[in-house]
Amino acid sequence: MAGNPYDILGVKKDASDEEIKSEYRKLAKKHHPDLNPGSKDAAAKFKEINAANELLSDRAKRAAFDRGEIDMEGQPRYQQQRQQHSYRDFADGQQGSRYHYTASDFDMSDLEGLFGMFGNRAGGREGFTAGRRPSADVNYVIEIDFLEAARGAKKRVTMPDGKTLDITIPEGIEEGQKLRLKGKGAGSLESPGDAYVEVHIRPHAFFTRKGKDVYAEVPVALQESVLGGRIQVQTVHGSVDMNLTKGANTGVVLRLKGKGIKGGDQYITLKIVLPKEVDTELEQAIRTWAETHAYNPRVSMEAVT
């Protein structure tokens, strides 16, 4: 192992045995891997501290190091044995349940607390959370259907702690919007705190939206497009009848006023769809028609290349 044992223990070159011992103890308590099972660095750090202590607490080795005769290698006896019998390895393994304190009587209502404990760590000093009063506010995320968001809805959801929460989704709620449920937090009866529910909207198979306006592509039959007439179109509020003018082409955008969300509009884009099978009758009709009506819809495209 490379490195300077004095630096590792944080002591001066002329530190007394007592000082070295005292610093070593402080660091060993802090970095012992079995006491820091969540830390990846603890084991390496602890090993280093032990190697430094091993060297500096041995008069002869320390003197040799000071004279520059040896560097900081030679694993202390301690290390190799630790490898075989790290308590952490067993406590985290199958046998561990023999000593686990909470294994059998774990209450599922603690679930929220379990996740919540990570919340405390983010703000405060690491490993020093006891004095900090956790916020009584809680945050949830729910996912709702496109139509529920468009029309508004009442949802009853079960939260991670098993409690149910009735949520009124207001008409026209936006993706990512947060709802505040006053007094529904995780605090005490006197100061319950609030629940914040972040709402995510699942995409719809046919509709998309921009604010209050709804967009949809509407397939129309060949004859509907050519001849015009009444067709039925779905909106977020149900189906409506509308008039297609003669010759309404693919790509034509029509507005259904007030049929969007909360007074917004619905825009539909027409798309001509041929019948599944082109039979001889249709083929013959088009053939006859085409003989005298040749047209090229790609003229504008050819112009730019």
Partner: protein, 110 residues
Amino acid sequence: MKTLEEVLEMQEVRLDQHALEVYIRREWVRPLKKKSGWVFEEIDIARLHLISQLVQDMQVNEEGMEVVLSLLDQLYGLRAHMKRLTHAVTRQPPEVQQDIIAIVKQMTDS
């Protein structure tokens, strides 16, 4: 699997018989009791090793040891439960996993 005598012979444990019997009586370590005497599994030996480090290297005294071991058992109990939870989460559909991650992340940030 080791007997009490075999454990005492292990250098790394650094214990005399009296101390070991006291630890067992206080239930700091809980070997299995068989007709032939105490039987120590690997976890018991590792735990003894940890206890002797706490006593000898870190100067944790008797009263402190009760607290340290109690907190330690709670810590590893929680870790085991956390592991089971994590496993359960990984068995959920991806959307549910995303939701759970989002909630945990939110609680972490708030």
